[in-house]
């Protein structure tokens, strides 16, 4: 029996295994959606409490566990963002330093990061599922419960928005070029 099947029957050890197995999926998705580690940590807890409670409702015949897990995670994030809109201005979000990038242009990465952050929540969700998790359009359509055509148009729109935002930012005087090669 898989850990999911055992967890569905109430086996606490199996749930711990599930948590270990999928914590990165939830945490990284939430972090990319919400922008701070504090919020991602909170999402990790909330999502797994929700998963634990709803596991009996999950029907493996209707789709993969990960499809369901992405959905629960994104729903949590979208609700979070809705609440924030009334409380916290977006610019107040804390910036987390990125990994030591081997990119030669840190400024460019920062501008992409900002452009992604400024996408609508729905657009950001498809961008993360497609370009971070590398899911197919049909998987994204299952997760978000939207038609394939909508996945495609939403991605198109998101990339157009990103492109526009980046070309607007291109001339910013404070862009720094870091040369890391001999």
């Amino acid at each position: 029996m898989t850990p999911i099947q055992r967890a569905r029957q109430g086996d606490p050890d199996a749930f711990a295994v599930l948590f270990e197995q999928y914590k990165n999926l939830v945490f990284k998705t939430a972090y990319l959606m919400l922008g701070t580690t504090a919020d991602a940590e909170d999402a990790l807890q909330q999502v797994f409490i929700r998963v634990h409670r709803s596991l009996p409702e999950y029907d493996p015949r209707k789709g993969a566990f990960t499809t369901w897990l992405y959905r629960v995670t994104l729903n949590h994030c979208l609700n979070q963002r809705r609440q924030w809109r009334f409380h916290v201005p977006l610019d107040a979000l804390i910036k987390t330093p990125a990994a030591p990038a081997s990119s030669i242009d840190i400024a460019e990465e920062e501008s992409i990061r900002q452009a992604i952050r400024e996408l609508s929540d729905k657009q950001r969700a498809v961008v993360i599922l497609r370009y971070y998790w590398e899911l197919s359009y049909s998987e994204i359509s299952d997760i978000l419960n939207i038609p394939l055509g909508t996945v495609k148009s939403r991605l198109d729109l998101a990339l157009k928005t990103l492109r526009r935002a980046l070309s607007d930012n291109a001339d910013l005087p404070n862009s720094i070029q870091v040369e890391v090669y001999p």
Binding site: P3, Q5, R8, Q9, G10, P12, A16, V17, F19, E20, Q21, Y22, K23, N24, L25, K28, Y31, L32, T37, A40, E41, L44, Q45, F48, I49, H52, L55, P56, D59, P60, R61, A64, F65, T66, T96, P97, A98, A99, S103, I104, E108, E109, R113, I116, Y131, Y132, W133, E134, L135, S136, Y137, E139, K152, L155, L159, L162, R163, L166, Y181, P182
Partner: protein, 506 residues
């Protein structure tokens, strides 16, 4: 198709999400429209940047170590009701990007080697991994490894179908790290017939003659090597893996780092424990890989679902084996496995028949001119290379801080004059390698990361560097149809910059 219609499909085109007929129409339009080609290139660059940014951001954070301790008490109070479990196979979906990149990288390096520039035994990658300290400490003695390999051609995921019957072979390998000599002989465990031979005795390379559709080897070519023992054979830098075997040394990390990273990075990798043949404890990483491919005959898009178990020694983290499954239609069928069942270091004075004279059931055929067997690459100058072929490319100048090692088969076969390896490397082991001699045009699979140089070279980057796997490789197609590979441990922008400096040798 108009430009507007084409451009509305370019994103899905890059994402490989068009129907075959849409795809064909887009391609036809692209061939004759510079404007849309330009649009495609820009979109591709944007996608790459978005990916890189997301990867860098996500790689910078990890779930807190105490997350489970925080969660456990909260869920105790809400135990779910037992629920009847229905049958059915769970389809596991997300990609482990790093692993996929590793597979692509190693497969590509594998392609180089099967293009007979560097005949390193198929098993070397496993052997090397098992002796991962070797690079830091000179080894005393001769390494002996036995590996059991199962292969079921019928279960190989389409379209990679290959002929033959399921078989298990036992590969017996010896290596002397002091000299670089090696020998590897595989036999079918049912019939005891030889299925593969390769080796190096310091003077000759031994290469099995594989006839199409025949598993049994009856002829082995003995090819004299005039170039001496290349450093890379001694250092075992080169890897051969058409089988997607991953190991730490190949990725510049220890096996334990590889294990930890693979376990931690993938959302869908799980680890369990098992007992190995010799009673030792091993960790098993289970991972799922999906790969898009296209059936060349029908143009039908195929989504390959494979899963892979990778076995690590629980103490040393050496990679002990791998099993690949074809997950199709709810069934998981083993199609390849490779398990190291014995590993020992024999005294340095152990006599090993490096020259294969003990093999009575094969005929050793001298191949003085290197026309049949493999050749180790020897040093060559750019002028000499230019005399052989006009299809070789090098950088216009050696980049500052780098040195160039240019090697090629000493006696190129008439049909393959353009095999060479140009290895530009700096003191920190950052490299940019050009491998020529791709033979005829091959299908360029990944259209996602096309970069076109000023001189019109089309550079198709295959896979993307990630924080975990900072490697890049690409197939380069010149306007006259010449193809070659480049690979580098350098960021994309730097690779593109160097690609701009590629010139034909004259």
């Amino acid at each position: 198709m108009t430009c507007e219609q084409t451009q509305s499909l370019l994103n899905a085109y890059l994402d490989n999400e068009l129907t075959p007929s849409e795809r064909a129409r887009v391609q036809t339009h692209l061939q004759s429209c510079a404007n849309c080609q330009n649009e495609l290139a820009q979109l591709s660059t944007l996608q790459t940047r978005v990916r890189t940014t997301l990867q860098h951001r996500a790689a910078a954070v990890q779930p807190p170590a105490h997350a489970w301790q925080t969660l456990a008490p909260k869920i105790k109070s809400s135990t779910p009701l037992p629920h009847p479990v229905h049958g059915g196979t769970l389809v596991r979906k997300p990609l482990f990007i790093g692993a996929v990149v590793a597979v692509l990288v190693l497969t590509l390096i594998g392609v180089w080697i099967t293009r007979n520039a560097t005949p390193v035994s198929a098993q070397e990658i496993l052997n090397r991994s098992a002796h991962s300290q070797q690079n830091t400490q000179p080894q005393q003695g001769i390494q002996h490894t036995q590996t059991k390999i199962y292969f079921n051609p019928h279960a190989v995921p389409p379209p990679k179908q290959v002929p033959g019957e399921p078989r298990t072979t036992l590969m017996d390998s010896y290596r002397d790290p002091r000299t670089g000599y090696y020998r590897s002989v595989a036999r079918n465990t049912d019939t005891n017939q030889i299925t593969d031979v390769n080796g190096f005795d310091g003077l000759n390379l031994y290469t099995a003659n594989h006839e199409d559709g025949v598993d049994v080897v009856t002829t082995v070519y003995r090819t004299p090597q005039v170039g001496g023992v290349p450093e890379m054979i001694k250092k075992q830098q080169m890897v051969r893996s058409g089988n997607g075997i991953k190991d730490g040394a190949a990725l510049n990390m220890t096996d334990q780092e590889l294990f930890e990273r693979m376990r931690a990075t993938s959302a869908n990798t799980s680890a369990t424990e098992e007992q190995w043949e010799n009673g030792r404890k091993v960790y098993v990483l289970h991972m799922t890989v999906t790969e898009d491919d296209v059936n060349k005959a029908s143009g039908e898009k195929l989504e390959l679902r494979m899963s892979s178990d990778l076995y690590f020694d629980a103490e040393t983290y050496a990679v002990l084996g791998q099993a690949n499954y074809n997950d199709r239609d709810g069934q998981s069928t083993l199609f390849y496995s490779s398990r190291i069942i014995l590993q020992e270091t024999l005294p340095a004075d152990t006599i090993v028949a490096w020259d294969m004279t003990d093999l009575t059931d094969v005929q050793i055929v001298d191949d003085a001119q290197g026309q049949f067997g493999d050749q180790l690459p020897g040093p060559i100058t750019a002028d000499e290379l230019a005399k052989r072929t006009t299809h070789a490319y090098l950088l216009s100048a050696v980049p500052a801080g780098f040195t160039l090692t240019l090697t090629a088969p000493p006696n190129p076969r008439p049909k393959e004059p353009d095999i060479y390896i140009a290895d530009y490397r700096d003191a920190d082991d950052n490299y940019f390698v050009i491998q020529g001699g791709m033979g005829g045009p091959t299908e360029v699979k990944n259209q996602n990361d096309l970069y076109t140089t000023q001189s019109g070279l089309k550079v198709y980057f295959d896979g993307r560097p990630t924080y975990e796997m900072p490697y890049l490789n690409a197939t380069v197609v010149a306007p006259d149809g010449t193809q070659f590979l480049i690979a580098g441990k350098l960021p994309l922008e730097r690779m593109q910059e160097l690609a701009e400096q590629l010139v034909q040798v004259k």
